[in-house]
Symmetry: C2
């Protein structure tokens, strides 16, 4: 390990995982933290519970399609939903810079309240810390959440198996590219905005028709590339993607070409990867497309029985290349 | 309300409460958040659960008697214990400045792991965000926690009633004064160090012999003055303290005189106020004194049937003065 924290330790890629393994799991070690799921899955008086936490440091705090408050509620709701849980209760903790406009804080709090209502969760406890000017850049929010895992559902990062298909619920890279463009002052023509949304009702609609979902993961920091690599490693499988099936908007495609970026590595805040056995693939795809948050859903690839534990991309011109775990830091403070 | 956030909004006193009422509770409004307890008390499949969150921004991060990691685990464990819950699971979320020494991070993580073991809780989920140099001052930690509320226990901020006595488990002001001295470079002779400790085993020992505890509250930001004023208001009672019963170490007394401060307003991280009916007072006091974290426990006052909802101090020379809710900011970033 290096001797100083670098931005890549927070990227959601290789260095983040190294830090988690070599430091946090090393010292906090227990059977629950070792699961490496989006939420911890645990028993409380014989009830299966999901419990998760996330801090939000996005800059700018207000962007097309949302703000840090919307992100903070959706992010935690989604982590719970990805464990097959019904999100129920959230806490919210603010760290605010002295001098921060209360009007902005009010806009953020309102947007959290709206998202909580939309997602059907209650914000039940909170904390407010204020630090001196310069001690924090604006405002950071932590949300933690608990939910009850649906009976008969067993969704875990280690459950992907050969024969599963991978479905995403729409176009990739919208959130990260929105932030990137706002920050760099690039003005993309068209409809580009953050896809930030609470995905629990979409997950509910999937589980309504298919209990046998193996893995669910929202593709946030590090994009689809990071989450699929994590799942490949945790489940000890390989994953093969079809380039021409991956839904990407014209705006994101254009911006990626302009900036030399790969949309597979760009953060989403309203997109999930769903692993189901092939026999359910079309039923689940159809169900997702009937949901407002899944109209552009696509089957993007499948799990293959290959020992390399890698993610591959079959390119449009017929090649096959490795989609590596992201390394280094593409864009800090994306969420 | 003012139009900008000031340090006093994070002091735990009047301005913090105004912000909570006028902003957070206004928008997040639900029956659980309105309880104003240290933890939210809620039902999950018919189980009574406590759920809480706290962010820690203390500076310096390392101080006599502890560090930010120890504080982060104890703070959340204590908030759960103050609801009569057995603390079970914690999450930990780090926001770290680019360039932060990994050696320091490791010391903090080790100290969290040690405290978690001592308190009998598991850290089951986490999050790591890294922000650019200058985006955050060093390292901030959020811990959230859940626990199950013991059967037959009903501890809430609104349950204090006339005839209750108020017991504290030891000397007041040790944590805040330690931080204050470290920051101002004042070198106090003697044993002054933070009292930071997990109080759940002390609470367990109290509940073992007395189920009829009305209120428990750890006296953190704003000190005993803030928590007693909150309880007086929430329970619609008044509280009368006896100055000569309040345990304060010689070091804190000396430093307070030097700096012109009142120890009742100084933060503690290992002290609680316990409200029990007078008939149990001596039994509970004795039990606390038999616990390593309560050897200097004292009965410091009682709840009186007076409509003013205020806290009074009967002084040593026979006067009676009001102990107001703290207003403004004595010392930011104390926890």
């Amino acid at each position: 390990m290096e001797d100083k924290i670098s931005l890549s330790h927070g990227s959601g890629g290789k260095q983040t995982n190294d830090l988690i393994s070599n430091l946090f799991i090393k010292y906090f070690d227990n059977e629950i933290i070792r699961q490496m799921n989006d939420s911890a899955q645990l028993y409380l008086n014989n009830n299966r519970i999901a419990f998760t936490t996330d801090s939000f440091v996005v800059t700018p705090a207000f962007f097309k399609g949302g703000d840090i408050g919307k992100l903070a509620v959706c992010g935690t709701v989604n982590d719970l939903a990805m464990s097959g849980a019904k999100p129920l209760y959230l806490t919210s903790a603010f760290i605010i810079e002295e001098g921060y406009p209360i009007e902005n804080l009010e806009t953020i709090v309102k947007s959290m309240a709206e998202m909580a209502e939309r997602a059907g969760v209650k914000i039940v406890a909170g904390d407010t810390k204020v630090v001196e000017k310069g001690g924090v850049d604006g405002l950071f929010i932590n949300t933690s959440g608990i939910g009850t895992i649906y009976e008969g559902i067993n969704i875990e990062a280690n459950k992907a198996e050969a024969g599963d298909v991978v479905i995403v619920n729409g176009t990739l890279g919208d959130h990260g590219m929105t932030i990137m463009c706002e920050r760099s002052g690039i003005d993309i023509q068209g409809e580009l905005k953050s896809d930030c949304a609470p995905l629990n009702s979409l997950v509910d609609s999937i589980l309504d028709i298919c209990k046998d979902v193996h893995v669910l993961r929202d593709a946030t920091r590090g994009g689809v590339a990071a989450v699929l690599n994590e799942i490949a490693e945790t489940s000890r499988v390989s994953i093969e993607l079809e380039e021409d099936s991956i839904p990407i908007s014209e705006e994101v495609k254009g911006a990626c070409e302009l900036l030399g970026l790969d949309p597979l590595y760009i953060a989403n805040e309203g997109k999930l990867c769903c692993f189901v056995p092939e026999k359910y693939a079309h039923k689940v795809l159809e169900q997702m497309r009937n949901h407002p948050l899944g109209t552009k859903a696509e089957i993007i690839g499948k799990v293959v029985a290959e020992v390399s534990q890698r993610v591959y991309l079959k390119t449009i011109i017929g090649g096959r290349r490795i989609v590596d775990m992201p390394s280094g830091q593409q864009l800090p403070r994306i969420c």
